[in-house]
């Protein structure tokens, strides 16, 4: 009946040792959109088969993903916030930025579409209409790539949405999935990436109301975390992972990923398009 602390601590130590004795792995800091869509469940086994590398994904917003890289808590990043990425590389936190795949953002909202945004093709105009009608809009407000894109679009629309925070503009501070849940509950408009939307099971009355505007283009990039800054970074394994993802086989595997009959991600790596400091 009495606890035998030493025995338990001993058991714990052995347990932890086994946890460390596994195959070599790298930590990939990525976005909620890639995880929520189930992309990694599909893709990482392929990476493992091709390279022998176990990739451990920590899925957070792009802002936090970049922060993880900055702190050295990840070996490689897969994110979608070009200005943030370029700043990251420029500051020396990472290098060898490679654009590997893209998808697009979509404007979703209730089927009733109170602001009638589904009539147009211009997302900036649509946002203006939403603001003019004070139609409810759910914002991620979590410094993610999607959130940063949304803010840029509001700026283009000339709307200071954050001034309306708490009224029709709702800042959730949540991931994409949670935001979609809330938007479904509140019958709000929101900006979503297509991958999360395709994998999302609780749509309620939400529909895709606007898509295809070139401004909604959503590029994902790989960045290697600087080994100069963080000597423990598993640069060699991370490099092999990046090489696979940008190889013909890796790119074909991205394109082959299907969700709800659609391809949420389109592979678009081109050796000529890199922005890096190496």
């Amino acid at each position: 009946m009495r606890i035998r602390p030493l025995v338990l601590v001993g058991m714990l130590c052995s347990l932890l040792q086994t946890a460390h004795a596994e195959d070599p792995y790298i930590t990939l800091s990525s976005t909620t959109s890639t995880q929520a869509s189930g992309f990694f469940d599909y893709y990482l086994p392929l990476v493992k088969a091709a390279t022998g590398i176990e990739v451990r994904v920590v899925a957070v917003g792009s802002g936090q993903a970049l922060k993880l890289g900055e702190q050295g808590d990840a070996d490689v990043l897969l994110v979608h916030d070009k200005p943030g990425e370029l700043a990251f590389v420029a500051a020396g936190h990472g290098h060898d930025r490679r654009e590997v795949m893209y998808n697009d953002f979509i404007l979703v909202g209730p089927a009733s579409d109170p602001a009638k945004v589904s009539r147009g093709k211009d997302v900036v105009q649509a946002l203006k209409t939403i603001a003019d009608n004070a139609a409810p809009f759910a914002s991620r407000a979590d410094d993610s790539g999607t959130h940063r894109t949304e803010l840029r679009l509001w700026a283009l629309a000339g709307v200071n949405a954050q001034a309306a925070s708490g009224t029709w503009y709702k800042e959730l501070g949540a991931g994409m999935g949670e935001t979609l849940n809330t938007a479904a509950g509140l019958e709000s408009y929101t900006l979503s990436d297509r991958a999360t939307w395709l994998g999302f099971g609780n749509r309620g009355t939400l529909r895709v109301l606007l898509e295809g505007d070139p401004k909604l283009f959503n590029q994902y990039s790989l960045i290697l975390v600087s080994k100069d800054r963080h000597p423990h970074v598993k640069a060699e394994a991370a490099q092999r992972f990046v090489d696979y993802m940008t190889s013909a086989a890796g790119q074909a595997a991205i394109a082959a990923f299907k969700l709800g009959g659609e391809s949420p991600f389109k592979a678009n790596y081109s050796a000529s398009v890199t922005n890096g400091s190496d």
């Binding site: 009946m1 009495r2 606890i3 602390p5 338990l8 601590v9 058991m11 714990l12 347990l15 932890l16 946890a19 460390h20 930590t27 909620t32 995880q35 929520a36 189930g38 990694f40 469940d41 990482l44 451990r56 994904v57 920590v58 899925a59 900055e70 702190q71 050295g72 808590d73 991931g175 994409m176 999935g177 949670e178 979609l180 849940n181 479904a184 994998g199 999302f200 099971g201 609780n202 749509r203 963080h230 423990h232």
Partner: protein
């Protein structure tokens, strides 16, 4: 309330076929939370015992601090442990972030004050009750404490169960320091949060049912053990 019946049947299906992903997650949840419980239980009970028999300046302050920390917000603990274990943090060289060990550490921080605070109250009440007997028998503090721990075993067991409950149901801390990495740090609660974010509400709720069932089984097991022990002379 379609979700509830869908979730219930989904939970049943997952359990019936012993879904390997589910088993993996459940076992990891148990491993992390039980490890944290073992460590926090040892530290918490030891500290509670020391606080019961010793008197020193600052003791009251320490007790107030511990009692206040019984309700530490998991997210804050997670964040603090994250900052400690981050490569940029003071313990970054250990390379423990996003590992089960990091989750255990965060839960130990959460559980230790809870267990210590509850156990100290139990032990101190018992000390007041038994103190004269121990003095009359001429017992030293160590011997008296050992007896006290045995005497209060059922209350302390309930305290440990409360600690386990907090550990297994907690998501804020383990999500931050563990990262919800599939097959590495993904546990019941982080999976529930993730499935909710995927809009798979039925699946999330089904996992919730299984988590509750797990807690129920463990508590029932402890209860029965205790009943049997009590009937045999406790």
């Amino acid at each position: 309330m379609d979700e509830f019946s869908a979730a219930a049947s989904l939970a049943f299906t997952l359990l019936a076929k012993a879904d390997p992903t589910l088993v993996d997650i459940v076992l990891r949840s148990l491993r992390v939370s039980l490890s944290a419980l073992a460590i926090a239980g040892s530290i918490g009970l030891l500290l509670a015992a020391l606080l019961t028999v010793t008197r020193f300046t600052g003791r009251t302050l320490l007790i107030i601090g511990i009692n206040a920390a019984m309700g530490l917000p998991p997210v804050v603990v997670g964040l603090a442990v994250y900052l400690l274990l981050s490569r940029a943090g003071p313990l970054g060289d250990w390379g423990l972030l996003f590992s089960p060990t990091a989750m255990v550490i965060a839960q130990v921080v959460l559980l230790t004050p809870l267990i210590c605070g509850l156990a100290r109250q139990t032990l101190e009440d018992a000390w007041r009750e038994y103190g004269e007997l121990f003095a009359s028998l001429g017992l030293n503090h160590f011997r008296a404490l050992c007896t006290l721990l045995v005497e209060t075993r059922y209350s302390l067991l309930t305290t440990l169960l409360a600690g386990f409950g907090r550990a297994i149901s907690e998501v804020g801390a383990v999500l931050i320091v563990g990262g919800n990495i599939a097959h590495v740090t993904r546990v019941m609660t982080t999976t529930i949060a993730m499935e909710t974010s995927r809009g798979n509400l039925a699946l999330a709720l089904a996992l919730g049912f299984i988590l509750i069932l797990l807690a129920l089984i463990i508590n029932a097991g402890v209860f029965i053990t205790r009943e049997i022990a009590q009937r045999q002379g406790g």
